[in-house]
Symmetry: C2
Subunit: 434 residues, 2 copies
């Protein structure tokens, strides 16, 4: 019997203190492991409102209710579980993360943050803590942008950073529009968009996430705090040539967009290396689609996605401009066409220094002086940081691998993360702290 | 009412001369145009025993029967329509091509050969020709190898050039085995394989095909004859790296197989150019698959297909060795792994000079001195050439484009091709000519 089933027997009414229940994060993650396991890619594929994502969402509802939390879905498909514990009406202290994944991703990005949020609430309930304001655990929709191409879809809609019109018209690879997919899941596509009341009801947001990259292991710390997120964006590059026969077409009469794609891949690495050191520049092509995609046919069209990041917005702009310049030169040499569309751009994020200091102080008794590290990965916390105090906790990733089935954290570190999050939430909801 | 429906009313019993019926090849191709049209790639996608291929096959049966031909499917899924016209028992004069396509291919490769074969038979019937041996029209299965990766599957099985064991175990991208797909279409997978009796019942094979490449247009001829097929093959190259986060992973700790793929694409072109002139070398990467394929994830694995061709077998071997050497060097530099599998290799083909001379003589009264040209594309005629006299007719392709929706031939040239094929078949079945 898992930790959730143990609690689910007594359907505690919301807003009353349930019996003290402990939620072990390691056991909860094991319970989620079968959902969305990807037999082709390996790892997990959980994308907005696919079968796996629906099961993850159902788990969220079931688990939060077993802890006596109020569960709601906002107009932008984000889930919220609230512990009122006495009914204080002040804006909530919020934590959470996301339950969707990249294609073939790891088990912790982002379920670790959602599971840890619920486990920290269970811990505080068990110890008899009475928060002076609601504590809220979020599951943000489509953080990875794997289905509709735009990351942090739910939090960006909530914050008003994306127009509802644009989101409704997004399509997945099967051609379904976001409007239809949302409607099919009971979300009214006409009502998606900015939700200022909900935003105003949040005092702050503290997200816990598995570390991406390997900075904590050499420092010997199980938990770290974020300083900033690199500026980053995603560009869709469509290269058009002339489809033809791979055997019958003379070399000098070819217009093969695959050659231009090769130049783009090479340029992304070379331009990022050239921009280093100092800018933390990186550029990646991880997704590429050739049409028609036959082994004995020269492609007529290749689409690739360029992910580019750097310390500051201007660094990213310069990096992408240099790469696109190389692509245009390669395209001209091959007699191909180029169209570049910016799918997303996320400005550099500085997390709230005051909130980060307060979390560090709450963590100090158990963890000492916690390291503060920058990250190259985007997060819902980065979106919310423009609107309210936001901070992040990272749990050590021994190999640093991320967006891969090989992403990991030790059971001991996972539990240390919940300890840290509980310490922070306790401090932030004691004596009018938030 | 199309040409087929016009004839279908009178179900002429096989082996009796039906009423004179003309089959216009342009109208017949128009009738086939809706089948397998690919709304995503453009063009047509017709792969072994998918819905489109089944409809094409049903059209073949219906049309051949309307001409009073005997229709059978051999043990290797190839369709045959035979005109006996008097019942001579000598080995048949065979023509035909294939009705499957590359993904998103053109309308003529290879339906033009099948349609022209049936139209030429209809022409000879209408003029009262009495062949001295059967004339047989073939539709060879999976010529393009688009579903199971091996081109000329049906003709290679017939000729004993592939083992039945290997073919039964081939899988398509959905994971279905060839054995299951054949069984589902009523072909006993236990009985596929060499068919020497059927081969011995063929006196010769003359395939008509749309030209691939652009050699006839500058020469001002609507029809050409083939001299040879370049040696060619297909290699599957799997590159393994380390999947990781596109934003969080430092450049110097990456093992990104996409960089190696870029080197492979570039090398294929550069090595082929370096091998020219004189070898007619060409190398192409038209199909590439990245895992997991997320825009914000470094790929963990990339598979690409290398198509390489040249005048002689040794040229192809040298070309592929040079490209694989480059790929291994790039892979070592990136800390990735490489596995290369040869999916197919087709030795250089010389078409039968005597048969080609006889066809040229038959064409001369209408077309004068018909050009003879080599081709870089593989064909069932190339497979059969190792076992019986084989030759090919090409119909002018004004732009030379192939394996693309933009492949084409004028209506006038299509009809000239049928005239030429009818002239050849008449001569080869008159007075003991074959």
């Amino acid at each position: 019997m898992g930790p959730v089933e143990a609690a689910a027997g007594g359907e505690a009414p919301a807003a009353e203190a349930p019996a003290a229940v402990l939620l072990d994060p390691v056991a909860a993650l094991a319970e989620l492991a079968p959902l969305g396991a990807d037999p082709v890619r390996g790892g997990w594929s959980r994308h907005l409102f696919d079968d796996a994502d629906r099961e993850m969402r159902a788990w969220f509802v079931r688990t939060a209710r077993s802890l006596g939390l109020d569960v709601e879905v906002d107009r932008n498909a984000n889930q919220w579980a609230t512990w009122r514990a006495g009914g204080a009406a002040a804006p909530a202290v919020a934590t959470g993360s996301h339950l969707d994944s990249v294609p073939g991703g790891g088990p912790l990005d982002g379920p670790l943050g959602v599971v840890s949020g619920l486990a920290a609430v269970a811990r505080l309930q068990a110890e008899g803590h009475r928060p002076d304001r609601p504590i809220r655990v979020a599951n943000f929709a489509e953080e990875e942008g794997a289905r509709f191409g735009v990351p942090c879809l739910g939090s960006q809609l909530l914050a008003g950073d994306l127009t509802a019109e644009r989101v409704r018209a997004l399509t997945d690879t099967a051609g379904a529009t976001a409007a239809d997919v949302l409607a099919g899941a009971g979300i009214d596509p006409a009502r998606i968009g900015p939700d200022p009341d909900r935003l105003a009801d949040l005092a702050l947001y503290l997200e816990l996430h598995v570390e991406q990259g390997r900075q904590l292991a050499p420092l010997g710390h199980p938990v770290g705090l974020a300083t900033s997120i690199l500026a980053h964006g995603r560009w869709r590059v469509t290269l058009t040539g002339r489809g033809d026969h791979a055997g019958a077409t003379e070399l000098d009469s070819r217009h093969d967009p695959m050659l231009v794609a090769a130049a783009a891949i090479r340029s992304a690495r070379d331009r990022a290396v050239a921009a280093e050191p100092g800018t933390r520049s990186r550029a990646t092509v991880g997704k590429l689609h050739a049409v028609p995609g036959g082994s004995n046919a020269i492609a007529s069209e290749v689409t690739l996605w360029l992910d580019a990041r750097a310390e500051h917005d201007a660094d990213v702009r310069a990096l992408v401009a240099a790469i696109i310049g190389d692509v245009e030169a390669a395209s001209a040499a091959e007699g191909c066409g180029v169209v570049v569309v910016e799918e997303s751009f996320s400005t550099r994020v500085e997390f709230d220094a005051d909130l980060t200091d307060r979390v560090a102080a709450a963590l100090a008794p158990r963890l000492g002086d916690v390291p503060r590290i920058p990250t190259g990965a985007g997060h819902d916390a980065g979106i919310l940081a423009a609107h309210l105090p936001a901070a992040m906790l990272f749990v050590r990733n021994p190999d640093g691998v991320s967006h891969s089935p090989h992403e990991g954290a030790s059971d001991q570190d996972i539990r240390a993360g919940v300890d840290a999050l509980a310490d922070a939430l306790r401090a932030l909801t004691s004596g009018g702290a938030a």
